[in-house]
Amino acid sequence: MIERFMRNDKDRPSARDGQQNGTNDDSYFVKFLHWIITLDTYDGSSRNYGRMTETTNYTFFFGGRVRTVTKTSVYSIVVFAMFIVPLILFSIFECNYLWHHKGTNWKPAIVILYYFYLLTICSFLRAACSDPGIVPRNVHIPDLNASYKIPQEYYNYAILPTKNPNASVSMKYCQTCRIWRPPRSAHCSVCDVCVLSHDHHCKWLNNCIGKRNYRFFLEFLMASTISCILLILLSSFRLSYSPQVRYTPVSLLIICYCGLGIWYPLILFIYHIFLAGTQQTTHEYLRSIGSKHPIFHKITRNRDSPYDRNSMFFNLIHLWFQERGWNLVDPRRKQHYPADIRFRKLPEAHSFETV
């Protein structure tokens, strides 16, 4: 069984003549294994996830419902473990005492804490394991002949006018994805995909942050900051009820842990208020300051940006609550036709002149 499973991965028909040769005799077990985890290109399924592993660095689970990026050190598991620890400590050592405390009614506060903690976990999973807004490959392929040439014009930026006479939009042809990348999107080399409204590739979430999961990312930052504050408050009261600190060492530990841990999401959250308020994505901001270390730079508003809406409030609303739209490269959709070119990796591009 395992042998067949291996052979099927290696000896799969080449992408060019990607018919469903020799895949129909797959047993249900092999199909099920591929459904559980899709590590490599798999022709046995008519759904997109079987082929998306060829063009992206994603690994899919449960038939494309959950994804993560492979070929990276998967820090997201460490992050997940780190913010779960104080919740476990609180549940074991603190919760019971506060819930049954006779003086003050802490029950509503505890319920709110658990709600925000669950929100942290859920938004983390959605931000880390869902589609950031990727676009398909090879939609703007100029020529399908064997050499896959790209004309000289496609190597230039296309600078196009906008409503604002002082601003223009520049479009770039992505030579890896073979598409004219819409403005604000960028190619992520870690995921190997072009992402719409690309904010950044978050190595702590092990996913890109883009149009479709920016909302969950912000929710994660907000919910984790609030949970930290609530944990510090509740543990401080628990500490104040105890005659001596040595009876409640865990309260002190939680206060220290959360006191340190709160800064990372809090600073990032404030940072994103200013970035979104000035209609910038992290990617655009880092490019505009020309540095990879944004710490000593001021966030300034470029009123001539083609995206600026003349009001910090509307800038924020339009970036934070942008419509997520459809999952444009949905791993769970049926393939348009077998070996769809949009899910194929083409040879390196070269210009017309070099042929």
Partner: protein, 258 residues
Amino acid sequence: MVSLVLADTADSSDLSKAAITVEESTSAQQPKFFNYHEFVITKYRALDEESCEEHGPENPICITHFPNIYVPEESDEFRTTRVVRIPRRFESSTEFPNFSTQLPGSEPAALPDTHNKEFVPAGEFEGQWYGETSVSPLSNYLDQAEWTEIVTRINSLLEAAYNPITRRNFVNVILDLLTLNLWSIIEPYLFVNPLQSVEDYVSEINRSESFRLKGIKIIPPRESSYLSVCIDSPAWIKPCTAINEPLLTHCDTLIVLL
């Protein structure tokens, strides 16, 4: 800053004027809209030639239609149809997908054709016929008014679907917060995404009498992920002036909104 400007082509007969030039951008010089999908090649077989020859930068042909990647390469449809890609424009919005309401060839910085508004083949390249100007085969099937009407409708539907300031969007955000993000998983099964209206409109257009008779169709924009609009159109018979039979006797086109 270096910018790419397509030089003004008021005098259309002089194609060399339309060459893409890289110049220092000045604030006085506004970029002009052009179809970024098209490009020119100089090595092709002209109507009266027998083989592929270099024609120099003075006499290029303009590639305005592309292979139909929405069907398998082995299929008949792939051989008989071509795709005309309609680019995105940003004059009305940089936030929502907006497609050009002008037919290829009539944009401000296109290589225009003053003599006729139709696509006139001038040379063959890898089995396909192309004209000397930015006018695409689409112009043979639709006039400017028809096309503007279709794309304006598509643009307005897209804007309505992508506008974040709607009651629907805010209700979704709040319900998502209250249900630990489960709402956004359930919601697609309960309500129709407003983007569906674009797909419905496109399939209505494709079913219409005029599109069916002309044999053209718009590729559903979801297939091209709103990167462009593609139109798929059929059979214009190639002018049979060459001695040896050309590789393709006709070329169908397909409109793609991308």
